[in-house]
Amino acid sequence: MRPPASRLLAPRYSALSLLRARLSREYWQPLWRRSTPQEHYDVVVVGGGGHGLATAYHLARDHGIKRIAVLEKKVIGYGNVGRNTTIVRSNYLLPENHYFYEDSLRRYETLSHDLNYNVMYSPRGVVDLANSDDEMVGLARRGNAMRLAGIDAELMDRQGLMKYAPVLDPTLPRRYPIVGGLVQKRGGTVRHDAVAWGYARAAAALGVDIIEHCEVTGLQTTAGIATAVETTRGPIKADRIVFAVAGHTGHIGAMLGVPLPVETHLLQAMVTEPIKPLLHTVLIYMYGHSEVYMAQSDRGGLVMGGTLDGFPSFAREPLWHRLEEVVQSAVAMLPQVAGIKILRHWAGTNDQTMDGSPLIDRLRYENVFLNGGWCYGGFKAIPASGAACARLVASGRAPDLIKGFNLSRFATGHVLDEKGAGPFPVRQ
């Protein structure tokens, strides 16, 4: 699946290229070339985040499409691809979700080779902790569904947890006790920025134009077909248009006059000061109505996140009391982290759908496509989303993997409500 070397415009990374760069003192090369908008493209991808870049990469690599542009309003890596908590996993209950995320996890396993860029995939395991025997039953159900689909899952009691994650003492008295957990050992973390940079570099090497600081403001259409996007850098003609704009999906709907089952909510994350290696896995712990998921980055910081802030917003100003809840949950889970300082704290804009599952489908026009509605799951979905969305755009037909992610499911009733929460993007 690797592109032939002759099609790469940039040199391949290898031990030899490192040595050559050292000797020639030309090590610091831009990862991808800067492009200016051309008049016309085969495909214009709106949004230079993980999904947009991966879609463009696969359109070029798998489908031989030559003239592709990725338009980014800000800079590559500014949005959610650089704001998430880097966790990858495929421990979903519903078949539509777990087959899709498993495809994505498998692609992550080989992504460094495929992109010729080290994305630092670390299969350190993801542990969902249970507070009660009832939750253990729920986790067993989810684990069994995964195993039936050929995905690794292991249910652990307290003894198993103590062995697997010695940092965690499940026997400590807690307001919400830890009685066991569901472990997916192939889950783990991937360096998020590297995913953006790796896809951008690989796509550019295949001839994709990556155009930053170019905001799409409108769409030109004739006779039911979109013909061009209007941008802050002038109109750009396109045969096909893909919107992969995450938290801004809602107003793409407004721009096209299509109501969407989406609300944009803030999800925050934070990282502590670096400490020596403490946590070798990813822990997810429900603490009453709040939650914490925690992993230790390679630099040593504990990266943490929790639940949504609770109301639609584009402000990217995270709520302090939600930060407090995440920290409380973290300290309840691992009391030994109580004295560590939080270094940074930020938020991203999530396009939360009304059933919590993504949208990859045509959007109103025959040649306009939407790749969005990623809710919490965007980062871990990037490789599968890019490949599947590219197939939809290139062939006009959605591959089986994403058939369930259509927009019509909200009218037909085939919603993918993983949490069984009903038509709400956020519950309080």
Binding site: H248, T249, G250, H251, G253, A254, P259, L260, P261, V262, E263, T264, G310, F311, P312, S313, F314, A315, E317, L319, W320, H321, M354, F410, A411, T412, G413, P423, F424, V426, Q428
Partner: protein, 98 residues
């Protein structure tokens, strides 16, 4: 922390409130008369405005009342609050944030 103006209790900390979704969505009087698309529009489709958004809030840890608010979703500034059943107030667009 945001201070939210409860129309009954006055300015109170955000902690006491719960978001209640987009405002002014009327439940169809005869759901059976709707086709699937109309029902999906009622149940799932949202305006998701980037800008001034009319929405419901509940003073859940105070007087427990639902009310409506106009909030700028780009800044989280509350521009107006009004009681359930009242019409959406006109904003002084030149005045900006209150």
């Amino acid at each position: 922390m945001l201070l939210i103006q409860c129309p009954y209790c006055g300015p109170r900390p955000e902690l006491e409130f719960a978001y209640g979704g987009q405002a002014h969505i009327a439940r169809p009087l005869k759901p059976a008369d709707l086709n699937d698309d109309e029902w999906a529009a009622f149940l799932y489709m949202r305006v998701n405005t980037k800008g001034v958004h009319a929405e419901r809030w509940r003073h859940a840890r105070g007087c427990n009342r639902f009310f409506n608010a106009l909030r700028d979703t780009t800044t989280d500034h509350f521009l107006a609050v009004y009681k359930t059943g009242e019409a959406r107030p006109a904003l002084n667009t030149a005045g900006g944030h209150s």
